[in-house]
């Protein structure tokens, strides 16, 4: 790799000792990217930007927040009322969590649709699942910090899950709490970990990017780049496309932050935590609802009690994602060339939406049945349909190259479209 032609003497001096300019040249200006990425590919960089927004707003919030059961709630309100632009920081952070999950979920489903988890991107995908798990832990602990009613009872319900583990369960719960109930030690450690985990996420994101840059982005056609005619440099093409996408995203995000900042939250969390009074409904934030539905839907399975079975399925729902690269037996990546999977993919989207809907309601009446069926389908989708469809499906012929597919506009029977394609 030839060093970048650096004109500036100082730049050359630095680069000779610490090759950051060469690195940037290599990873941005020369980094070859498929020329046909659609706007679905914006959500990776959006996730990274959300992570930065969350860390920056979070660091400033932590300067004013007090992690003590008697002061936490009031300190958050002090941020809202008395700290200059405190309301902005707090609403950016609070709604940021929701938008971070929206962006990451779209990113994940994009990977599922276009087979981005397949050879040679298995580790890239698995690192993504690790990031998702870390995000969930971080979001859960962050939600506890304002010490509202839902913070407290959510913390109680979720930490109590570990009591389902046979023999050592109760000891684990006490160890997590740092006492015999959710109390000040719990709040303190959650604050500490909530501050720590985002930086762990940054570390895993770096690995995620290293793995990405090894083979480059997948693309809507799911075929490899075969030569220079198939790719364009990341900069300026995708920097400008990502920036434009960021603009659109920020408009929606800002609309929520400035005009409906509490639309995605629960009013109960504006009531200070009261260990003596259980709210009528304990519901997590929307981004956890599908998992909450799985937890509550699972009945006794043989000798496994419902609670333990629910917990196992809850973790299994994420765990199964680690095995996707091997559960999917189709060698074709993009659903565009998979006539059966293309439709089955949408069943999963609907299934997760149904799960979310069930998670928001008490498991009564038909919600029980809907919850159980959609939980069952979730696992059937990955464990049975994924391998079976791969075996039985006859994929459509793949285009010979990205450039060939892209330049043959219009009458192409492949559904392959221009790089500007919007869905």
């Amino acid at each position: 790799m030839a060093a970048a032609p650096q004109q500036n003497k100082i730049v050359r001096w630095i680069d000779h000792r610490l090759p950051i300019f060469t690195f940037m040249q290599h990873e941005l200006n020369e980094y070859p990217t498929p020329r046909n990425l659609s706007y679905w590919w914006n959500f990776g960089s959006l996730s990274g930007i959300m992570l930065v927004i969350m860390i920056v707003t979070g660091v400033f919030l932590a300067m004013q927040y007090t992690p003590n059961v008697n002061m936490a709630f009031d300190s958050v309100e002090r941020i809202m009322r008395d700290v200059n632009f405190g309301w902005l920081l707090r609403y950016l952070h609070m709604n940021g969590a929701s938008f971070f999950f929206i962006v990451v979920y779209v990113h994940l489903f994009r990977g599922l649709y276009y087979g981005s988890y397949k050879e040679p991107r298995e580790l890239l995908w698995m690192l993504g699942v690790v990031i998702l798990l870390l995000m969930m832990a971080t979001a859960f602990m962050g939600y506890v910090l304002p010490w509202g009613q839902m913070s407290f009872w959510g913390a109680k319900v979720i930490t109590s899950l570990f009591s389902a583990i046979p023999v050592v369960g109760d000891s684990i719960v006490r160890w997590l709490w740092g006492g015999f109930s959710v109390d000040n030690p719990t709040l303190n450690r959650f604050f500490s970990l909530h501050y720590l985990l985002p930086f762990v996420i940054v570390g895993v994101v770096v690995l995620h990017l290293v793995a990405l840059h090894q083979h480059g982005s997948n693309n809507p056609l799911g075929i490899d780049r075969k030569g220079p005619q198939d790719s364009i440099p990341f900069h300026p093409y995708y920097t400008v496309k990502d920036m434009f996408g960021l603009g659109v995203f920020l408009i929606i995000y800002a609309a929520f932050v400035f005009y409906m900042p509490n639309a995605l939250g629960d009013p109960q969390n504006y009531v200070q935590a009261n260990p003596m009074q259980t709210p009528l409904e304990i519901v997590p934030e929307w981004y956890f609802l599908p998992f909450y539905a799985i937890l509550r839907s699972v009945p006794d399975i043989l000798f496994i009690p419902a609670k333990l079975a629910g917990v196992l399925c809850l973790f299994g729902a994420i765990g199964v994602l680690f095995f996707l690269p091997w559960l999917d037996t189709s060698r074709v990546r993009s659903a565009r060339f998979r006539p059966v999977y293309k439709w089955v993919f949408w069943l999963l989207v609907i299934d997760v939406a149904v799960l979310g809907y069930c998670g928001a309601h008490r498991p009564e009446g038909w919600f029980i049945l809907a919850g159980r069926l959609s939980t069952l389908y979730y696992f059937v989708h990955f464990i049975i349909l994924f391998p079976v469809i791969g075996w039985l499906e006859r994929p459509l012929p793949l285009p010979t190259s990205i450039a060939a597919a892209v330049t043959r506009k219009g009458g192409a029977p492949l559904g392959a479209a221009s790089p500007m394609e919007k869905h």
Binding site: F244, N262, V349, A353
Partner: protein, 250 residues
């Protein structure tokens, strides 16, 4: 289209928890602070504060508010000083090590009616009146709920057995509320001469409480307009840049 469908699905999930239980639907009121350009009606908020002072504050605290905050609904510095000075605040200890009473200052928090929850319960048949600082944000329906609740007292339906010291209220969860009807109309004499009907009092106090829940709302909406204008222009320019740069690739 798919993006839109997905977004709709995701937001649908978020909105779902709202209507979890069947209740009498709240009448939707029109508020001065509705919509992206809505602001607090200062006169209504001041009347609402008067209702709070003269009626609600006998039982309900507003611990998150300070007298200085009242500037936000248009009171002048002198008016605020007078409002604060009308209250006795416990301060200290002094150099003798004793607590003492002094007139309130603008920097003081609203003086609560009871020293602690136990005192409140002892005085009020065991019921604990909630703090009102955040009541609008802490209830489904917000200002509509408070407005409805204050006017929602009815005779219990035939056959319904009421517990001791409980009142029937249409909009309260379970319909049995410990708070006796706080307003009946003509509970206060409004300084600005507005007729103090029950509807007027309820509407004004809900306006005041909404301001108390979210005193930075006007700043938020105003900042939001500037941010959105900036973002729209920036995104437009970026779209142009994107078209320009990609023109060669197409």
């Amino acid at each position: 289209m798919r993006a839109l469908a997905l977004a709709v699905a995701l937001f649908a999930l978020a909105v779902v928890p709202a209507g979890a239980q069947e209740e009498t639907p709240l009448p939707k009121q029109s508020w001065s602070f509705d919509g992206p350009f809505g602001t607090y009606d200062r006169a209504a908020a001041q009347r609402g504060f008067q209702v709070y002072e003269e009626v609600c504050s006998h039982c309900h605290s507003m611990n998150l508010l300070h007298y200085r905050d009242l500037e936000g609904i248009g009171y002048s510095e002198d008016e605020i000083k007078a409002i604060a000075a009308a209250q006795q605040v416990t301060d200290g200890p002094n150099d003798q090590g004793e607590m003492y009473q002094r007139p309130g200052r603008p920097s003081d928090a609203f003086v609560p009616p009871f020293a602690n929850p136990e005192a409140a319960r002892a005085a009020l048949n065991g019921a604990l009146p909630p703090d009102l600082s955040l009541i609008i944000k802490a209830r489904e329906g917000g200002p509509d709920y408070v407005d409805g609740l204050l006017q929602g007292y009815k005779n219990p339906p035939a056959g319904m057995k009421m517990a001791d010291n409980m009142q029937y209220n249409e909009y309260f969860t379970g319909h049995q509320i410990a708070m006796p009807p706080p307003l009946a109309g003509d509970d206060v004499k409004f300084a600005d001469g507005t007729k103090a009907t029950l509807t007027q009092e309820a509407h004004d106090v809900a306006t005041f409480l909404t301001w108390a829940s979210e005193p930075t709302m006007e700043e938020r909406k105003f900042t939001g307009a500037k941010v959105l204008i900036f973002l729209l222009v920036m995104t437009g320019v970026l779209y142009g840049a994107k078209r320009q740069i990609w023109a060669a690739v197409h």
